[in-house]
Symmetry: C2
């Protein structure tokens, strides 16, 4: 059976759990406490030398890391990844945007505020996380103000990648009342067949 | 003709210039001064709402952003992107690693040290950039100590994505004498047909 090494509150892990559920694939979750050193043990580093969850281990023992690479692996040749070179590039454009310009601000602010707590240094850095996170949400809002989904006007792994931390951004102190198009999109994503909530994957 | 919006010292822009050269595609470079507001003008934001270089504009006017998404677009169905679901996932795994765990430390340290200068805050943050950058180089070193390239034992866009900032990491203060496998790989990448140096793309 496919194994998903995950940490409960992780949006990156949730992306994978959500897609596997929607594809009807059976998998076993192995919980790793990423906030308390669980990704730094020799056993875990043997699976992913980069020391990060999520990781999937396929039934043949092959391990794949990086949440969005895992999404791509399972979505290829399914309805969750539209065909064509330009659409592939568009899906990847949003997924790289997520990892570089969205997750480091929105997910990190949430992890600090809702999970691991604020010390003096984090208090000093939080306003910049909020500023850059709001900029990323602004980019999404513009796209979603005249498109139902991020790519090809249908639900794809680009939506899964961005939904994971966007739908819990308020937990990190982001005021989502400023983003009506994102809120409508969150509702549309939740209505997709096979949707499961974070923490219930 | 394909237009590449680029900023001379950018490794992210260099990735695209290198691949286009190696594929024999003709393109025109439009220089944007990303360190002095050039990516924040209304004209540039109309091309890429995320306000970042590189961006390519195809001959039909379609714009694609995010360096690694652009690499994927041009490499699909060429020798630079090996076939198969698992190899696709491996290439993406390295490219997402690059954007999340490598570039924010290695490229940013280089930009500060070699291009934009260090103020008090950056001096305080530089040691952490170095620590995390060294961790990323350690992950690459392990892989390259028994493989000639990052994926499928041949030169792919994963190598282009990681080469861009790794080969100039010393400019940001990284001691590359600690990474002999990476140095040998840098030599192998430079020997590839059609290779061009950063700043000469």
């Amino acid at each position: 059976m496919i194994k998903l090494y995950n940490y409960g509150p992780s949006g990156n892990g949730y992306k994978v759990a959500l897609l596997l559920n929607q594809l009807g694939l059976t998998f076993e979750t192995v919980e790793v406490d990423a906030n308390h050193g669980g990704t730094r043990t020799p056993e875990f580093l043997a699976i992913n030398p980069a020391g990060k969850i999520p990781v999937v281990v396929l039934t043949n023992g092959v391990a794949i890391a990086e949440s969005n690479a895992i999404l791509w692996y399972f979505a290829e040749r399914t309805a969750h990844l539209p065909e064509g070179r330009l659409r592939h590039a568009r899906v990847l454009q949003w997924m790289f945007f997520e990892q570089y310009s969205h997750e480091p601000y929105i997910a990190v602010a949430r992890n600090w505020v809702a999970h691991t707590g604020l010390d003096e240094r984090r208090r000093r850095e939080l306003p910049e996380k909020h500023e850059r996170g709001l900029a990323a949400l602004g980019v999404m809002e513009r796209r979603l103000s005249d498109h139902p989904f991020l790519v090809a006007d249908r639900y794809t792994i680009a939506d899964i990648a961005l939904f994971a931390y966007t739908h819990v951004a308020h937990e990190g102190g982001f005021d989502m009342s400023r983003f009506p198009a994102i809120r409508a999109w969150i509702d549309r994503v939740r209505e997709q067949p096979g949707h499961v909530a974070l923490g219930h994957g």
